[in-house]
Symmetry: C2
Subunit: 375 residues, 2 copies
């Protein structure tokens, strides 16, 4: 590991601030502060959300996301306040009676709980934390929405986009809704085999929180309109018909987080310049070296054991009784790990692996983990 | 008016940028850009919303708002994505069957429409645009919520907080919910005579949009819990019980607009230093000189004729056939008026009168309006 260490010395001298590996809110993409300064200089926060300038920002943002993520033109892109809000809007707009949830962690469970709170007959396929799902998964008949958490932020389990596509093929009548909150822009979805996908900007895009992005196809709009015509409430300002009516004008139903949308546009353009293939390759590289380190380490190991399910973007380490001292060791070197989620707070650490985390920072993380000695 | 003009010469030399009088998003409070720079320096956008640092920001923000607006300790302060969202959350959480709406413009109408969309038996007392309500207003029996738009952003009509208090006294069993989106921090409410009030930050607080503030008493929480126990859906993450459970820990159910909350805290502290009494006096002064100018002007006049209903914070001018040329005349001098709302786009101009607008800027506005000559 000498190779990594040499680079680290240079990097440490350059680093003024701590790097946060928390899976979200996470490390800001390195251009964000400059873009924010520019936004204030240009008067972006005072722009009317009914003005042509605002519409241009929305139009550019959507075009950039389409290009970066390969979103076809028959999908709509909508803005909400958070991905948590999209849990609710999904159930309200797409489910009359039955949603089915793949549950393997806290966030997939929360999606299920949301459906229950909204008085739907929600069902679930549940596996233990840290596990994934097999392709022979059976879905109850009459399921209207299959809710899939593609990347479980609480456990670091990811599902292969091909598994999701197969699920759609086996259940063509259900709408397949994908929570990719803590993985995009990394995963490459086959948009012919999903109906909706959503994410929040404070993870993979390295932006300040306060914006959820909801990408839906025309079948979702039709489903919402059909519920509406059958007398269901599909919400008000953030119903799909309302979002679509405003979205076709590159507007939003409410005064939105204009600054957040502006910053999303700028960072999307930055990521496009870097190239999505480069981003994906670097993500793979960083994940490989951290998992390799965890596998060989004497004081810790990967929580997710099956390599098929090891998330590339949220990597969870079983750190057991050494959790506090490993965290302290990292912080001493300017690297802030994310805490384990919920009941794992004292036995795990989580590491976001996002475009904002450079290869050099990941090499440094691995080197410093390797210098940790059990007390 | 020579007095105003002399100051204007100095001010024009100082002004690098246009001042926007749009009622929202409006002119930023003059400290906001600096606070945002500081936020990025301190790593605020990367703070975990479960961290002690975030909780401190929330605690300070709520304490500052309590002090500035005189909010008693038995009221809760919650954060949402927008005031538009609060229309929806109000109906979901506080209404089983019947809400009654005082409608005199586009936003009060939208509050009513939201209740209809959510399948409630909403009723309304409607008066023409530009008019207010008299104290003998009768409210249907069994009304659970009286929804009052204290300041109609579309028409510039404001209702006196004493009128609202009287309405509560006459209808003690209904929850009185006040939309003060485009007036706070100006109006001084008697919190013993209202049950909830809300605003958004991009108007009177001069902040970037993306945050609604919802202030509710314990009766609102009880009503939501009662609906829940009777089998109603009150939403999910942003239900009052969920907001309260997180709020008591100075947290939020979802990852919120952390940067927005930080900026709200900073500007609230700035406004406290300036003093709410000074802010109210200056607002009155600015309103008086603009209304006086409109009254005497040959090419325009106030839209709201009854002085009791003339908003102090959103002042609407009937500009008729001269609308475009008056707007152009103002813009030439660096002053951007707000457009008339909806069908009034070509016959009115609107002027936000917020703490971000200085007395000198208002004097300049008046002077320049006075120099407008009919073509």
């Amino acid at each position: 590991m000498y190779f990594f260490r040499k680079r680290r010395l240079v990097l440490q001298t350059l680093m003024k601030h701590h790097v946060t590996f928390s899976p979200g809110p996470s490390q800001l993409y390195f251009t964000v502060a400059d873009h924010a300064r520019q936004a204030f200089r240009e008067g972006v926060p005072s722009l009317s959300h009914r003005s042509g300038n605002f519409q241009s920002i929305v139009r550019e943002t959507k075009a950039g996301l389409r290009q970066l993520l390969g979103i076809p033109s028959d999908f709509h892109i909508f803005f909400t306040g958070s991905a948590t809000e999209i849990f609710e809007r999904t159930i309200e707009n797409l489910v009359a009676e039955r949603s089915h949830h793949l549950v393997n962690g806290a966030f997939s469970k929360r999606f299920y709980d949301t459906a229950v709170q909204l008085k739907k007959n929600a069902t679930m396929s549940e596996v233990p934390y840290g596990k994934g799902f097999e392709s022979d998964l059976s879905i109850p008949g009459e399921t209207e929405v299959i809710a899939i958490t593609q990347n479980e932020t609480s456990t670091g389990v990811q599902l292969d986009p091909r598994f999701i596509a197969a699920l759609k093929e086996n259940n063509p009548d259900a709408l397949v809704v994908v929570d990719a909150v803590s993985s995009l822009p990394y995963p490459k979805f086959n948009f012919e085999r999903i109906d909706a996908v959503f994410f929040s900007v404070q993870k993979g895009f390295g932006l300040p929180a306060g914006l959820g992005i909801w990408i839906v196809n025309e079948k979702c709009i039709e489903k919402s309109e059909s519920l509406l015509s059958r007398g269901y409430s599909v919400g008000s300002f953030h119903s799909l018909p309302s979002l679509k009516a405003n979205g076709t004008k590159d507007q939003t139903p409410e005064t939105p987080n204009v600054l957040g949308i502006y910053l999303l546009n700028q960072v999307t353009q930055d990521l496009l310049r870097r190239g999505i293939d480069v981003i994906r390759r670097e993500t793979d590289y960083k994940a490989v070296i951290l998992y390799e380190c965890l596998r060989q380490h004497k004081a810790m190991g990967p929580f997710v054991e099956d390599p098929r399910f090891q998330s590339r973007t949220v990597i969870v380490a079983n750190t057991g009784q050494h959790t506090a001292s490993i965290a302290q060791h990292l912080r001493k070197h300017g690297l802030d790990p994310g805490e384990g989620y919920g009941s794992f707070k004292n036995s795990q650490l989580r590491f976001g692996n996002f475009p904002a985390h450079s290869k050099e920072q990941y090499e440094m993380l691995v080197d410093i983990l390797n210098t940790f000695e059990r007390p």
